[in-house]
């Protein structure tokens, strides 16, 4: 029983790391109505920039602030050069644009910082600690605390505030949002800046765990099932989904691995998401929409 609980809670905490990635997608999806394929590259770009600054002797917080500023500047550029010219285009056009963006981010990261793998030490140890008789990873616990803090900040900023309303309004109907004087450009920049901030936090946590390297951009693939299960529009939903996926894949690996073979961890999330797509296409907390016909 104790082992079961350790696997369950350990998996759930690891799942928070997936949710950390997925939140960035939710922020942009809610404002621009598009699945931002570049989110993974943004995570890579942010982590690489940060780790290279730190390796050049820049203090932690200064490097964090500098990276954040670069991401905010990118948000301005993306709005001006990519999204504004594509206003009122179809979702698939926007999606293709983000696909292109992801290559630009990766290319820029490569030009600026090279292709080496960097170790990143955030000063958070990854050792088992005993809590209530259970042995858990201290890193996972720290990641959970950081994700929790991030979610609270985002919820306060984008919940029932005028910014939150503007974000949702722009996503629902850009023309109508214009008609009530909402500044589309500014709302878009804010959403992408917030997503950049989340990418930075996620990049640091994932970089610290598995090294800052180009495969970092592939954690998008782990975030996708989390998004499908949690719903593209709900930050709370992707947190719950992250926990479900994390716990589910660890439990499946350990308890089903012996029966149907190992490697379940690699595909469990997708099978789980597939079930959700059939049973509940809008995700756990996703916004259900109606249309009168």
């Amino acid at each position: 029983m104790q082992f079961f609980l350790e696997v369950l809670i350990g998996g759930a905490l690891a799942g928070i790391m997936y949710a950390l990635v997925a939140i960035g997608f939710v922020l942009i999806y809610r404002a621009s109505g598009v699945f931002n394929f570049a989110q993974g590259s943004m995570i890579l770009f942010a982590a690489l920039t940060f780790v290279n600054l730190v390796e050049r002797g820049v203090p932690f917080w200064l490097a964090f602030a500098a990276t954040l500023l670069i991401l905010i500047a990118s948000a301005f550029l993306i709005e001006r050069l990519v999204l504004r010219p594509l206003t009122n285009r179809s979702v698939i056009t926007l999606f293709m644009a983000t696909l292109g963006l992801s290559y630009i981010f990766e290319g820029l990261a490569q030009i600026a910082w090279g292709t080496q793998v960097h170790a990143l030490d955030l000063g958070i140890s990854d050792e088992p600690v005993a809590i209530a008789g259970l042995s858990l990873s201290s890193f996972d616990i720290a990641a959970t605390a950081i994700a929790g803090g991030l979610v609270i900040v985002l919820a306060l900023l984008t919940g029932r505030t005028s910014l939150g309303l503007s974000l949702r309004a722009v996503a629902a109907d850009p023309l109508a949002a214009l008609s009530i004087g909402i500044r589309l450009d500014r709302v878009t920049v804010i959403a992408w800046s917030l997503a950049g901030f989340v990418a930075l936090v996620a990049g640091l946590m994932w970089g610290a765990r598995s090294g800052v390297q180009f495969s970092l951009s592939l954690i998008v693939l782990k975030a996708l099932p989390v998004l499908i299960i949690g719903g593209f529009t709900s930050i709370g939903g992707v947190i719950v989904a992250g926990i479900l996926v994390g716990a589910g894949e660890k439990l499946a690996e350990i308890y089903l691995g012996a029966i149907i073979g190992n490697g379940i961890e690699n595909w469990f999330a997708y099978a789980f998401a597939l079930v959700f797509l059939m049973a509940r296409p809008t995700g756990l907390f996703g916004q259900r929409s109606w249309a009168r016909i």
Binding site: L156, L157, R160, R168, A169, I180, L184
Partner: protein
Amino acid sequence: MNAPLIIQPIRDDDPSRTAITLHAITLSFGGLDVLSDVELTVQRGEIVGLIGPNGAGKSSLLNVMSGFYRADSGTVRIAGEPVTRVTPQRVARSGVVRTFQNLGLFAGMTVLDNVLTGRALQVRAAWPHYLLRLPAARADERRNRALAFEALESLDLQDHAGTLVSALPYGAQKRVELARAIAMEPSTLLLDEPLAGMNAHEKAEMVSAIRAVNGGRGTSVVLIEHDIGIVMKLADRLIVLDRGRVIADGPPAIVAADSAVIAAYLGTRH
């Protein structure tokens, strides 16, 4: 073609009394003239009915006024001030608020949230206040909610505040859109067929809400409407468009009796 019938109220040209002035507005789409040389003035506190047959350019005119279309030539003035580079957002921020013929609501949001978006511009406290839930932010929030509820009540929607807007019947959605516009405390309302698709009871409610905002706050109203009976009673002045031109402009009773107007509508008596 007959000379247009222009009987306007005695008008002092004091720009501070005008809500919107259009001068020599011309608009065409790929060789098709949609608006030709349109002159139009809306006085403060006035209700203007914009009528005309289908395809006359009524919605296009409203789109020019609200910045959604940019005229090929001509000038738009709001409260006497010329607007250079008319954009929807600038027009809305200068107090001219429009509604859409096919609804411009935020599906997936509740009725109350939809109306609250109309207050999103009227935020006084800076965002750190919001982040920390400081009293200034809470005061803002209370005031905005109170005004949103007031707007909902004026259209008898208060019982639907928590309902998803897309779940309401069409007529109620139209009322929500007007409530959102009213919550913005506009100086001028531009309403594109606000009564379309409504039953008699709903129409009466809309009319009294439009009258209330016009009487209470002195908001000017420009409305496109096909129900001539209602427009005749509601509007202080009728402007008739036909094929992109103003063919009549004056008091409803006189305009409605004009032969050119009747011809434009019925296609007879040339």
